[in-house]
Structures are given as structure tokens and as C-alpha cells.
């Protein structure tokens, strides 16, 4: 008999996410990685402002709620104070790629030994569907009612590409959770991002392409299809930077 258990690193609190939202999957993947590595007792998570604002109720490890965009700075403080603990942030696109861009870039360039889970669903969910820094060109949102016009609103920010241009960070990857295959791969990559921290390698960020049926105005299935058809072509999946692997490659 196969029992579908909840990871130990998630609490019993009921998630508040909308039906069809993929935050639940991503929470689970993070918790599974923590369980698999046996680090729940050492883990300290930093929650963002955004849909995942109450992530501190869901992860069973110690948690800190940060101001909007500041999670990497807060995590820096925690990690500097407790270098033997495992510190991660869980942030959305408005939080990480807009208001918190400076904190993101500088934590990355310092190669701060933390793990960053970046959930990109191309919209501000919590406030009701405004244009995000990662909203696609032409995407209709509450604050881009005629579609994102790149002439006035600029282009989406490609975080994985942008950060991988820095010398600092250890590991930058982009994954998706729109189908089983991608979920399995995402799990592997997220776990790697934690393993890097345990090994003291430094800043590891996983961008997870996520969906928002509610604010995209789609059924959950259509939202997953939209991820496949629109999001992933604009935000290609893959490992963008892996300094250790590069070094091994050079050695060979």
C-alpha cells in the first residue's frame, strides 16, 4: 500500500491558497527537500510579502516574516548570526524581482550562503492581479488592462538570466511545476539548492514558474497550459549557473 504522507516539515495548518494554485506543490517540494536532508531542526525560513506571506504558518521549522522584498537581507542577518543553520527564503516575483531587487542582487553577488525559492507566476496575486515585473509582454492585468505595453511598462525581468551574469552566486536554475515531469525535476533542483548550502557553497536560487488561475482568469488546467505555451517559452527552464559543476568540468 502506498500512503501519501504529508512531509514532516509542513505543519497541519490548512493552506490558504486558491484552488489550482501551485504554491501548495512548491511548499511541498521545499518541505520534502528539508525532510530528505534531515535539516528541519536546523532550518530557518524567511517568508515574503505576497501570496506566501503566511508561509510561516505552513513550514514547521522556525520562521521569520520579512518586509516586502527584504527576505534576502533578513536571511543574510540570520545566516551571519547562525552560520550552522540552514536559512532559506520563499519569495514571489513582486517581492524578489521588483521591490526587493537590490537585496536579491546583492545577496547573490555576496554569494551569501542561503537558499532562495523564487516563485514566478507573472502577477501580483495577493493584491488582486496587478502587473508584475515578470508579467509577459501583452499580458492583461488589473494595472495593464490593455496588455503590458513594453513601450511604457518595459520588458519582463528574467531573474535567472540576470543573476547568472554575476560572478558571485553558486547556483541559479529555473524549473516549473506544471506537469509531473517538471515537478519531479523541480524537486531535484530544489534539493540541490539546499545541498549547496549544507556544503557551504553559497547563494543558490531556484526560480519556479508557477500559475495563478484566479488572477489570470483561467481554470487551473488552462493555467497550466498557459505556463507551457506562454511562460516557459519566455522563461526557458534549465540550470543557468552551477559554479561547482563548471569547476569540475574545467578539471576534467
Amino acid at each position: 500500500m502506498v500512503v501519501f504522507d504529508k512531509p514532516k516539515s509542513l505543519t497541519d495548518a490548512e493552506l490558504h491558497y486558491c484552488p489550482g494554485c501551485t504554491h501548495g506543490i512548491i511548499h511541498r517540494l521545499v518541505a520534502e527537500a528539508i525532510d530528505a536532508l534531515g535539516i528541519e531542526g536546523k532550518a530557518i525560513g524567511v517568508a515574503p510579502v505576497g501570496c506566501a506571506v503566511m508561509a510561516y504558518n505552513y513550514f514547521a521549522c522556525d520562521m521569520v516574516e520579512a518586509a516586502h522584498g527584504r527576505a534576502p537581507a533578513v536571511a543574510t542577518g540570520i545566516k551571519r548570526s547562525l552560520p550552522d543553520n540552514i536559512v532559506f527564503t520563499y519569495q514571489g516575483d513582486g517581492d524578489l524581482a521588483s521591490i526587493g531587487m537590490a537585496e536579491t542582487v546583492h545577496a547573490a553577488t555576496r554569494n551569501e550562503n542561503i537558499t532562495v525559492i523564487f516563485v514566478n507566476n507573472a502577477i501580483y496575486g495577493m493584491t488582486g492581479g496587478q502587473m508584475a515585473p515578470t508579467s509577459l509582454p501583452g499580458q492583461v492585468t488589473q494595472t495593464s488592462p490593455y496588455g503590458r505595453d513594453v513601450k511604457t511598462a518595459g520588458y519582463p525581468v528574467k531573474i535567472a538570466e540576470l543573476l547568472s551574469a554575476l560572478d558571485g552566486p553558486e547556483f541559479i536554475a529555473r524549473v516549473a511545476v506544471n506537469n509531473v515531469k517538471n515537478v519531479r525535476n523541480a524537486k531535484k533542483v530544489i534539493q540541490k539548492a539546499f545541498e549547496n548550502q549544507i556544503a557551504g557553497k553559497g547563494f543558490s536560487l531556484v526560480e519556479v514558474i508557477s500559475s495563478c488561475p484566479t488572477n489570470w482568469g483561467m481554470t487551473p488546467q488552462n493555467a497550466l497550459n498557459w505556463v507551457e505555451e506562454k511562460m516557459i517559452p519566455y522563461y526557458p527552464l534549465g540550470i543557468y549557473k552551477d559554479k561547482s559543476a563548471e569547476k569540475e568540468g574545467e578539471a576534467k
Binding site: 520562521m63 548570526s81 546583492h106
Partner: protein, 354 residues
């Protein structure tokens, strides 16, 4: 006798902080507090501490928030424009009931203002600064010795009452050198706080450091509980210096460098036979309301001396419930009143309403 060393005020804060167990400093360059960061940059790496030049004041205060959540002593320092940027984080730290030390070596404002000494962040420091209902413990050093002593005191009070403390200094006290006896070296404290995030070791329920309460009843309850603590602070921690007040007919009220200048003026006035004294608030919050109210029973008038357009004067008037005239002697924008200007203010007060 303890060893006296000659130090700048900014450096005395840094050395005192280290001696009382602070091992984490986060900052961003700004005049006139630079020596503090430079001192930390030199010392922290040698004693296993953290010095980090953050990408912004906003990042720095949020790093402070992170360390504070782990229950370790932590501080940041800046000057006025930088402290404005920190207000977001300060509100979160206050809202999460965490201790930390913030140093503001004030300069003239508003805006980019100037770099010369000022006290025009009085409102910001004592009335909140950031959003929401909260207070900081605000200490106003007026000498290099007090820069050291109040650093130690600020950490202790912040820890005791679980709230951020601020040293509200100014460019003069930061830049000047005076002989100082530094606090005794204390062992770095690593006792686990019952609220800190240090990892559950899967042996206890998880701790959450947080200021978000979406249920208004809960948030109100939190605020009431916090203000009960504030009431304790107001009861126990008021500090001020009373100078020549025994027979005073007039009372000068001034803090920090303004109080130093005012002492010269008080001495000069006394030499001319004017019975004047000085009350120097050492804690700006909690404000020495009772001392001023009692002075109002005896004196004919007050003179608030400030390096601002007049901010503390409002608290003086409130403290004495406007029972006596309160006049203002002010310079702003980085200017400092001279003893003569203060003396003139005292004489005006003596001559009735100016």
C-alpha cells in the same frame, strides 16, 4: 582607576558595543558617522564578528532584523537621511518585539540637507518614525563618555523590554574626542531566548518572528500588550540631568550638544546674577515629564534650546501642561546656537514674554 583613553564619539560607540557583546554590525556609508563603520570593519573580523557593508540602509536594517530574531546583539548606525530609509525595518522590528540598537548621528535636513550637526530628527526618533503604534527607547548622549555608556545601556534596555533602542547623537558628539572610560569587556552571551529562531532541533514547536496579524482583535491585543511594556519603561527608565536647578527661577531644557552649549550660557547667566538652571533629558523617550512638571511649580519660565526649528519644545509644553511660558532658542540646518544666543534667550525669558 580605570584607564581613560582619548576617542571620537563615533569610535567610542563602536568599541563599547563590542565590549558589551555585540558581534553583528550592518551599515551603509554616510557622513558624519563613518568612523563607526570603519571601526567595526577593522575590529569585527578579528573577533569573529560580522561587519557587513550592506547595499542600502534598508538592507542593513533588515539584516539587523534577521540577527535580532536569532536573539543575538546587533546594531546599525547611520545619519539622518539613512535613518529615514531604516524606518520600515525599525517598524517591523518594533512590531516583532525584538531588541536591537540603532545609532543616528544626526545631520541637518530635510532631504539630503547637509552634513553638519543637527537635532532635527527628534520627532522621527521619539514619535515613531515608521508606521504604526510603537516607540523606541531614545537616548541622547552629550559627551563621548555618554556615547560609550549609553551604548551599553541601550543594549541592556532593549533586551530587557524587547524593543529597539536608539542613540540619538549628532555630528558634534560623533566627531569630537574626549577622554573616555570604556565599559568592562563582557562575555558574549549565547543563552537561547525563548522566542528566538535558532532552529527547532525538532524538539519544540516552531518559533515565528512576525508582525503580521490579520485579525484586528489579535493585532489590537498585541499593541495593548506592547504599550503595557512601554508603560513600564516610562515608569522605570526616565533619565535626565538636573544642573543648578535648586534655586532656579528659569529653566533651560536642552539635550545632547545643545545642553553642553547651554551649560556655558547658564554659567554666564549665573555670573550676571540670573538664577537659571538646566534640565537635560537623557532619555528623550521616555521623556522626563515629571521632572519638568515639578520644575514648573518653581520656575517662571522655560527655554527650549534645540538644533532644529523647534521639536522637543512641544514635549516640554505638554509636560508642564503649558502652565509657564516656554520660549525657543534654535538654530537649524547644521548651525549650533552659541552660548551668547542661549544667554540672550534666557534674558528674554527673564524680561517677560518675548
Amino acid at each position: 582607576m580605570a584607564n581613560k583613553v582619548l576617542m571620537k564619539g563615533n569610535e567610542a560607540i563602536a568599541e563599547a558595543a563590542i565590549r558589551v557583546g555585540c558581534r553583528h554590525y550592518f551599515g551603509y556609508p554616510i557622513t558624519p558617522q563613518t568612523e563607526l563603520a570603519a571601526y567595526m570593519a577593522k575590529r569585527m573580523p578579528k573577533i569573529g564578528g560580522t561587519f557587513l557593508q550592506a547595499e542600502s540602509e534598508i538592507a542593513a536594517i533588515n539584516m539587523v532584523y534577521g540577527v535580532a530574531g536569532t536573539g543575538r546583539r546587533v546594531m546599525t548606525s547611520s545619519s539622518s537621511p539613512g535613518v529615514s530609509l531604516k524606518q520600515e525595518g525599525i517598524s517591523y522590528i518594533a512590531g516583532s518585539d525584538l531588541p536591537c540598537l540603532i545609532v543616528n548621528v544626526q545631520r541637518g535636513g530635510p532631504g539630503l540637507g547637509g552634513i553638519q550637526p543637527s537635532q532635527s530628527d527628534y520627532f522621527q526618533a521619539t514619535k515613531g518614525g515608521g508606521h504604526g503604534d510603537y516607540h523606541l527607547i531614545v537616548l541622547a548622549p552629550s559627551s563621548v563618555q555618554e556615547m560609550a555608556d549609553m551604548t551599553s545601556l541601550a543594549f541592556d534596555l532593549a533586551d530587557k523590554y524587547l524593543m529597539p533602542a536608539m542613540l540619538l547623537a549628532d555630528g558634534t558628539v560623533g566627531q569630537m574626542m574626549e577622554p573616555v572610560v570604556l565599559p568592562e569587556e563582557r562575555p558574549v552571551e549565547f543563552t537561547e531566548k525563548e522566542w528566538a529562531v535558532t532552529g527547532t532541533k525538532t524538539a519544540r514547536p516552531h518559533h515565528i518572528v512576525n508582525s503580521l496579524y490579520l485579525v484586528p482583535e489579535e493585532l489590537e491585543k498585541k499593541n495593548f500588550a506592547r504599550y503595557e511594556r512601554y508603560a513600564e519603561v516610562e515608569k522605570n527608565e526616565v533619565r535626565y540631568e538636573s544642573f543648578m536647578m535648586e534655586d532656579a527661577e528659569y529653566c533651560v531644557v536642552a539635550f545632547g550638544i545643545a545642553a553642553r552649549v547651554s551649560k556655558n550660557a547658564v554659567a554666564a547667566a549665573r555670573a550676571e546674577g540670573v538664577k537659571v538652571g538646566l534640565i537635560r533629558p537623557i532619555t528623550l523617550w521616555p521623556f522626563p515629564k515629571k521632572a519638568l512638571a515639578e520644575a514648573a511649580d518653581k520656575v517662571k519660565g522655560f527655554l527650549s534650546v534645540e538644533l532644529s526649528m523647534g521639536q522637543m519644545i512641544e514635549d516640554v509644553k505638554l509636560a508642564i501642561e503649558c502652565r509657564r511660558p516656554v520660549e525657543l532658542c534654535r538654530r537649524a540646518g547644521g548651525m549650533i546656537p552659541s552660548p551668547d544666543e542661549v544667554l540672550e534667550g534666557i534674558k528674554k525669558l527673564q524680561g517677560g514674554r518675548a
